[in-house]
Amino acid sequence: MVSDENDSPAIGRVCAELLQSRPRVINVGLAVFAIDLDAQDVDVVHVDWRPPAGGDEDLARLLSMLAD
């Protein structure tokens, strides 16, 4: 199965969809925000984020240009 990111992004979602239902959150960064959301029974997935390319700035810059 080809994963989503190979398809074109979901352009033209129903506007204001964000305000019409409880948020479902992907948390990238401070874990405390995910913990708070989880405590409120909000669907949340925390990303164990770390700097891309182990912090190598050159590679990170290159990646940012090549990234989807």
């Binding site: 979901a10 964000l18 305000l19 019409q20 409880r22 948020p23 925000f33 984020w49 891309p52 990234a67």
Partner: protein
């Protein structure tokens, strides 16, 4: 009449230390006269028998573990045995916790939560743009908590979001309440029909909490970032939110909190409001220079904005009497974790014709450089202070040194502080402050604070207030009131 019960666990071997801990815990239970966990050897059999801990029907061999309890009644004895069984299981349970593999990338997180609709990004600013872009391309709305995101990046992200029918909240946006769910730095406020759209976090927090304290509620609160109303960004996110709110049936009134917008975006905003079916309060902290349509009211402080938004603003007016000794110094030093709160304090001072300096000056205030003999309002959440350090709302210790310096400054008569609670904030900022004041000792200056929050917040506003009051801090009902009190204190002197 005491009751003795035994259970035998054949072939169960628990570590000696664990056996001892369980014995201790059982003996400490109310109503338990004696308890022991021992290997059921003949020698121990005698010991337990002498201690009245042996049920004569119990059968066990030397390789078995015997749990023996003597308690006041059967119920206590049984529940104690139950507890013993639980405690004996505990190590096994700990072992069984399988480490859940957390996704390392936004991409794999999306696979885990395919119907996600929002990415909350709080990675260092240098990386936030890249993560936000990935989120947008995965069809997610984005809230960028991170600061230190470049203007060019912000513009490019917001344009991309607009094209995708999505929104970028922030950057440097600490607060949102969406469909009743507080995100990042936000307070637990009742649901209601007032929406708040603001440049930055603490302004939204203050207004939403004041509205809650006046007995009304919030439909949504959205932070759009401090630069959204600049000419460069062109109010992209603000206009998106206003558009969404226009169609949101839960919202009847909208509070827009902003710094004075760029002339080029003023028209867009006022045109939108004019054509809107809803009513508005526009809070331009520090400026009353804006012509608005009839369905909008202009205010210059957060407190006035809250009062204008609610139907009955009685709950917002009580001011405490200053009980402190007259201040010795002549100037007020405001040390803020919230930028909009620092701006509001300047507005209050300017309205009393008191000149004031700040690192984030409102129109009419001067830019603080290094001169001290002035009223000075510092925003410690400003990018310049937070690069590489936690925000003062997460780690109040960031503010310790400036507070001590202000308290030791003979020119300073009153120290003005904000204490912001709610999700995301420090678990006990008042306690931290009280501890600091206690260590620093009393000095001539008055410490005046307000607590932005509600009693439903995890830290509980009432408790924070009482901790501060016990520490000798004068606590005002709102940030604007705190600034008023600081001036009043000086006037008494």
């Amino acid at each position: 009449m005491s009751v003795t019960v035994n259970i035998v666990r054949a072939g169960v071997f628990l570590d000696s230390v664990v056996l001892m801990q369980i014995s201790r815990e059982l003996t400490a239970i109310q109503g338990v006269e004696d308890a022991a966990l021992m290997m059921a050897t003949p020698a121990n059999w005698d010991i337990l028998s002498d201690a009245g801990l042996l049920d004569e029907d119990t059968m066990a061999g030397p390789g078995d573990l015997l749990v023996a309890v003597r308690a006041q009644d059967q119920a206590i004895a049984d529940s104690t045995l139950q507890r013993a069984a639980e405690l004996m299981e505990r190590p096994a349970q700990q072992n069984n916790t399988s480490q859940e593999l957390r996704p390392l990338t936004l991409r794999s997180a999306c696979r885990q939560l395919p119907d996600a609709n929002l990415a909350l990004i709080s990675v260092p600013g240098d990386f936030a743009g890249a993560e936000a872009r990935k989120a947008l391309r995965a069809g997610l709305n984005v809230m960028i908590f991170s600061d230190n995101v470049s203007l060019a990046e912000e513009i490019s992200l917001k344009r991309e979001a607009r094209d995708l029918g999505l929104i970028v909240m922030g950057p440097d946006c600490g607060t949102a309440i969406i469909d009743g769910v507080p995100l990042a730095f936000a307070n637990v406020v009742p649901r209601g029909d007032i929406a708040i759209v603001g440049a930055s976090g603490t302004g939204i927090q203050e207004v939403s909490c004041l509205i809650a304290r006046a007995g009304e509620g919030i439909s949504h609160a959205i932070g759009v970032g401090g630069r959204d109303l600049t000419e460069a960004v062109g109010a992209i996110s603000t206009l998106t939110v206003l558009d969404w709110l226009e169609r949101d049936v839960a919202t009847h009134h909208i509070v827009l909190i902003a710094k004075p917008p760029a002339p080029s975006v003023v028209d867009q905003i006022t045109d939108f409001i004019r054509s809107s079916s809803k009513s508005y309060t526009v809070c331009l902290v520090g400026s009353d220079d804006l012509a608005l349509p009839d369905n909008a009211k202009l205010t210059t402080t957060l407190k006035d904005a809250a009062a204008a938004a609610v139907k009955n603003s009685k709950g917002l007016e009580a001011l405490p009497v200053v009980q402190q000794a007259p201040a010795a110094g002549s100037y007020v030093r405001g040390l803020y974790s919230g930028g909009t709160l620092a701006a509001e304090a300047q507005v209050v001072f300017l309205s009393h014709r008191q000149p004031v300096l700040s690192n984030v000056p409102v129109p009419g205030a001067g830019l603080f450089t290094s001169e001290r003999a002035n009223h000075i309002m510092i925003d410690l959440g400003d990018d310049r202070f937070t690069r590489g350090r936690p925000h003062p709302m997460i780690d109040p210790a960031v503010r310790d040194e400036p507070i001590c310096a202000a308290l030791s400054d003979p020119d300073v008569g009153a120290v003005l502080l904000d204490v912001v609670i709610g999700f995301g904030a420090h678990p006990d900022p008042a306690g931290h402050l009280a501890g600091l004041l206690d260590r620093h000792g009393r000095s001539g200056s008055v410490v005046i604070a307000s607590v932005t929050g509600t009693d439903e917040d995890p830290q509980v506003r009432a408790k924070q207030v009482s901790v501060l009051e016990r520490a000798g801090v004068v606590v005002a009902p709102s940030n604007a009131d705190a600034a008023e009190l600081a001036l009043a204190g000086l006037k008494i002197g």
